[in-house]
């Protein structure tokens, strides 16, 4: 009798472990709809930029890979502004895995950069922001393109270099009818110290610096295919 009890116990244990492994690796449950904390502003200057208190550079790793969300990095791969004039780097040197680049200057006109830098991208944009804070569409398809890039039925995580562009993007989306409670300004890549960093900038043996832009998932907008309003 005791022998049978042993065998049954072993079988039960093996069965439980096996079921766990099957569930974890063979039949994984899709990224769940775990409840997200409501958007809440950080304190100080970061809050004024719109950076979220709960879901930001320090915590975003916990929220990556959700199938009910989109992740957008609003930087340009190479900013036309002369940032080298102020000792900077115009290029996107890294990003958080899972985020896809949608250059903010392609979406709306940007102004107010340092004089030494000159103008950033001044080409075509989907929208124009007026001095009174309103937006107008430059193309017939502008809103459709925007909805395709930032689906209204998804959670939207926004990131840029320091939180500036992502804050402006959230304001723009809310102004154009998006639900602000589903948009998180995650902040800036420069403050990210998590485990999902992807380096784009690389130094060669001879000291030359190269950028592996091929690594970056980018949403380009071909304005030639759009109908001007």
């Amino acid at each position: 009798m005791k022998k049978y009890v042993w065998w049954i116990s072993i079988l039960v244990i093996v069965g439980v472990i096996g079921a766990f492994l099957l569930g974890r690796f063979v039949f994984p449950v899709p990224a769940g709809l775990a409840e997200l904390p409501a958007p809440e502003l950080s304190e100080g200057q970061r809050g004024e930029l719109g950076i979220d208190k709960n879901i930001n550079e320090s915590t975003i790793d916990q929220y990556l890979g959700r199938n009910d969300a989109v992740y957008r990095d609003l930087r340009m791969l190479k900013d036309p502004g002369n940032y080298e004039a102020i000792g900077g780097d115009s290029n996107l040197s890294g990003f958080v895995d899972g985020f896809e680049v949608v250059p903010f200057p392609y979406l709306v006109n940007v102004s107010g950069l340092p004089e030494a830098v000159g103008d950033t991208y001044t080409g075509d944009t989907l929208f124009h922001k007026h001095s009174d804070g309103t937006y107008s569409e430059n193309y017939e398809e502008s809103m459709a393109v925007l909805e395709g890039l930032f689906p209204k039925d998804k959670i939207i995580f926004l990131m840029c270099g320091g939180g500036g562009y992502s804050g402006m993007m959230k304001q723009m989306l809310m102004k154009l009818g998006w639900d602000g409670s589903k948009i998180y300004d995650v902040g800036g890549y420069w403050f990210y110290e998590g485990k999902n960093n992807v380096n784009v900038k690389r130094e060669l043996d001879d000291g030359a610096v190269v950028y592996d832009f091929w690594k970056v998932p980018v949403h380009e907008i071909d304005f030639n295919t759009l109908t001007e309003k």
């Binding site: 100080g44 809050g47 780097d89 107010g112 950069l113 320091g162």
Partner: protein, 205 residues
């Protein structure tokens, strides 16, 4: 006759005993005196010892305080908490910000330098306003300050203090003594208003 002899013997014995007793008593008295004297001497020696130890402690404290005062005077501790910038940071004409790398920062820290550094990051519009405040202050006060990219600052000991950019850090004798905090409401005014920024930074000079 016989009784007299016994009495004599008895008396002699008594005399002997009493003499002995007297000797021991006087000896005892003498001993006691010696003990008393010894005790007195001991007490005096102990008191002296205590005085010496106390004197030594007081002397040490005085020397220590003098050293502290001397060091304070030399290093400028007692200057109402103000920072004394190194002379090389005084400028005559335009006070353009100087580029600072991570290596340069650590070198100046090692040399216990006193300077101001603006923590910026290119490609981002968040620092524009503060950059203007900092440059204006530098021009008005004829002070050369450093500018360091946050991407470099992250790799220095400054990152222990400055977690977010833009920021302005005041370094005194190799130690960051003050910096603007982008994640604190208390420092919000300094980011948004030039008067508030000037008031903040002037506290240290």
């Amino acid at each position: 006759m016989g009784n007299n002899k016994i009495n004599d013997k008895k008396s002699a014995r008594i005399r002997k005993v009493t003499k002995g007793l007297r000797s021991s008593a006087s000896k005892k008295r003498a001993d006691n005196t010696m003990v008393e004297r010894g005790a007195l001497v001991y007490e005096a020696v102990e008191k002296n010892k205590q005085k010496n130890v106390l004197g030594l402690i007081v002397g040490l404290i005085v020397v220590l305080m003098a050293s502290i005062l001397f060091m304070g005077a030399v290093s400028g501790w007692f200057n109402d908490g103000k920072v004394m910038l190194d002379r090389e940071y005084v400028c005559d004409g335009e006070c353009e910000m100087m580029e600072m790398t991570a290596d340069l920062y650590e070198e100046l820290i090692k040399k216990k330098g006193s300077f101001v550094v603006f923590v910026d990051q290119s490609g981002c519009t968040t620092a524009d306003k503060l950059r203007g405040f900092v440059q204006n202050w530098a021009d008005e006060n004829k002070v050369k300050i450093y500018k360091m990219m946050f991407s470099d600052a992250r790799d220095t000991s400054l990152h222990n203090s400055v977690k977010y950019y833009p920021s302005v850090a005041v370094i005194s004798n190799g130690v960051p003594v003050a910096w603007l905090r982008a994640d604190e409401n208390e420092d919000s005014d300094a980011y948004n208003d030039e008067g508030a920024f000037t008031e903040w930074i002037n506290r240290f000079f």
